[in-house]
């Protein structure tokens, strides 16, 4: 005679839930409390380094969505391409990071920020100076371990629970 269905499982489940009741919840109150995101996050936008860019348009060709548009002109006295227009329609961007991986001169970075919702579709199209790095627009460490090393460590919910316990 084996007894196994007399409610052992129910009792076990009840102890699990009551232990959760006494534990610190994992929820973070988002606008007030923020967690550090992954250091290699592929954020909502691209960061462009204008000085390193040679206008080779590798990024535009590798983009699966075709949302990067780059127009260059030739400067004869400096003997190089001048980027007249570098436009990214972030509304079409799928944050795959292929452009960052493809760039031979490390002139493109994924953004570290993730709160880039806009009210108008037109605002999603970013051109030239709008794509440069700034205090609000930090590059993330994606494909760039040297940047990742300087960013704060990601907060894990697991650590949050254990430290409060």
């Amino acid at each position: 005679m084996k007894f196994e269905r007399y409610g052992k499982g129910i009792a076990k489940g009840l102890t699990v839930t009551i232990r959760h009741l006494l534990r610190h919840p994992v929820t973070s109150q988002y606008p007030e409390q923020r967690l550090n995101v992954s250091r290699r996050i592929r954020g909502n936008e691209l960061i462009w380094d204008k000085t390193r860019c040679t206008g080779c348009a590798t990024c535009a060709r590798t983009c699966p969505q075709g949302c990067i548009e780059i127009i260059t002109s030739v400067s004869t006295e400096e003997n190089k391409y001048i980027v007249d227009k570098f436009e990214v329609d972030t509304g079409y961007c799928i944050s795959c990071g292929l452009c960052v991986e493809a760039c031979p001169y490390e002139a493109l970075f994924m953004g570290y920020a993730f709160e880039r919702a806009k009210y108008r579709r037109g605002e999603l199209v970013q051109t030239n100076e709008m794509l440069l790095a700034s205090p609000e627009r930090q590059p993330s460490g994606y494909m760039h371990p040297e940047i990742a090393a300087q960013l704060p460590k990601q907060t894990l919910l697991l650590e949050k629970i254990t430290e409060e316990e």
Binding site: F3, G13, L14, I18, H20, P25, V26
Partner: protein
């Protein structure tokens, strides 16, 4: 006003009113009606808060915490939101039935509190058949559910209502049998007398009865894990698919008011009602009611929803035979060992419960043992 005419026993507190006051015991009726309505509405809001916060914490969430301090005003905010919503009646609905259904589903919950004592003798009507009245009136809300399913003119509503009625009607039997064993010990059907008889809470003398009543009670009011007719994470809504606005709020209210009723009845029958040391009796009553509801929330968070065949099998193959055996054993104990000290009977009854549950864990099968339970 059938309740009032039956309320022959005016409690001592109110006899201090001058007997020649105009109105006579209508004052008693008025005061207690107001108390009961306020009690039900307030505690329902408290229940919603406890359920959402408690369930949240058990799932490692916080639960609503924005409206007011600690989210205390969340039920009020929900109520206001739901009252401002459009009240839609389907074109081909049976309008009168559709309109009456939420009222009929909700009123029994209020009516039951007429016989629940908040203190010694502090109840609207001390019926000598109190618990029978409870069983009878609580069945009426099923009619409201069926009316809602029928009046909506929607086959899914009707299906939901039929499934709910099937469950409620089959779980009525173990509920009544569990009550009967308590009544055997107490020797009275009046809830006030039952509380007065509980020098030791009947949960100790009737552990199996309590377990059966708790399970069957949860199933009768369609709380999780038996809420498969209106499983909010799976189905639209069951019988109240076509309801919105105020009428939906009424069904929502009825759901929690029924939970309140079941926890009040459990408190009165098994947890010695208002009796307790130090604190005032009504506070003991409220605290016990909330404690019982907490256990309901606890089981709701823990247990997964059962299938319809498991639901019916649990009622007919597990609860019903155990309730009958429990009634039989209680009867024998009362006939043969009337003078035995309750402190001897407590371990005996717990041993009987353990043996019966172990036995039934071997007997209880679905689909002739082909289906895993």
């Amino acid at each position: 006003m059938a309740i009032v005419n039956l309320g022959l026993n005016i409690p001592n507190r109110l006899q201090t009113l001058p007997p020649d006051w105009p109105g006579g015991f209508w004052w008693h009726w008025l005061i207690f009606t107001v108390i009961i309505i306020a009690f039900v509405l307030l505690l329902v809001m408290g229940y919603i808060y406890i359920e959402r916060r408690g369930m949240g914490r058990m799932q490692a969430r916080i639960g609503p915490n924005r409206a007011g301090p600690f989210g205390l005003l969340q039920p009020i905010a929900d109520a206001i939101k739901i009252l401002l919503k459009e009240d839609i009646i389907p074109t081909k609905a049976d309008k009168i039935v559709h309109w009456l259904a939420p009222v009929i589903a909700f009123t029994p919950a209020l009516m039951i509190f007429a016989v629940v004592p908040f203190q010694d003798g502090a109840l609207l009507a001390d019926l000598n058949i109190g618990i029978l009245y409870v069983v009878a009136v609580s069945s009426v809300s099923t009619v409201g559910i069926f009316m809602a399913g029928w009046g909506s003119n929607n086959k899914y509503s009707l299906l939901g209502a039929m499934r709910q009625i099937a469950a409620v009607v089959s779980y009525e039997i173990p509920v009544v049998l569990a009550i009967a064993s308590v009544v055997l010990i107490a020797g009275s059907l009046s809830l006030n007398q039952i509380v007065l008889a509980q020098d030791i809470p009947f949960i100790l003398l009737q552990p199996l009865g309590f377990l059966l009543f708790f399970i069957a009670g949860c199933a009768e009011i369609n709380r999780s894990p038996f809420d498969l007719m209106e499983a909010d994470s799976e189905l639209v809504a069951g019988f109240h698919t076509e309801y919105s606005g105020m009428k939906f709020a009424m069904f929502y209210l009825a759901e929690y008011a029924e939970a309140l009723v079941i926890s009040a009845i459990i408190t009165t029958l098994f947890l010695s009602g208002w009796r307790g040391p130090l604190l005032p009796p009504w506070l003991w009553f409220v605290l016990k009611v909330i404690a019982v509801f907490f256990v309901m929330v606890w089981t709701r968070t823990t247990l997964p929803r059962v299938r319809i065949d498991q639901l019916m099998a649990l009622a007919w193959k597990f609860l019903l035979p155990l309730a009958l055996i429990n009634l039989f054993i209680t009867g024998i104990e009362i006939l043969t060992l009337p003078a035995t000290s309750p402190w001897v009977m407590i371990p005996v009854n717990f041993a009987i419960m353990a043996v019966l549950i172990l036995l039934w864990s071997k007997f209880f099968k679905l689909g002739w043992g082909r289906v895993e339970v």
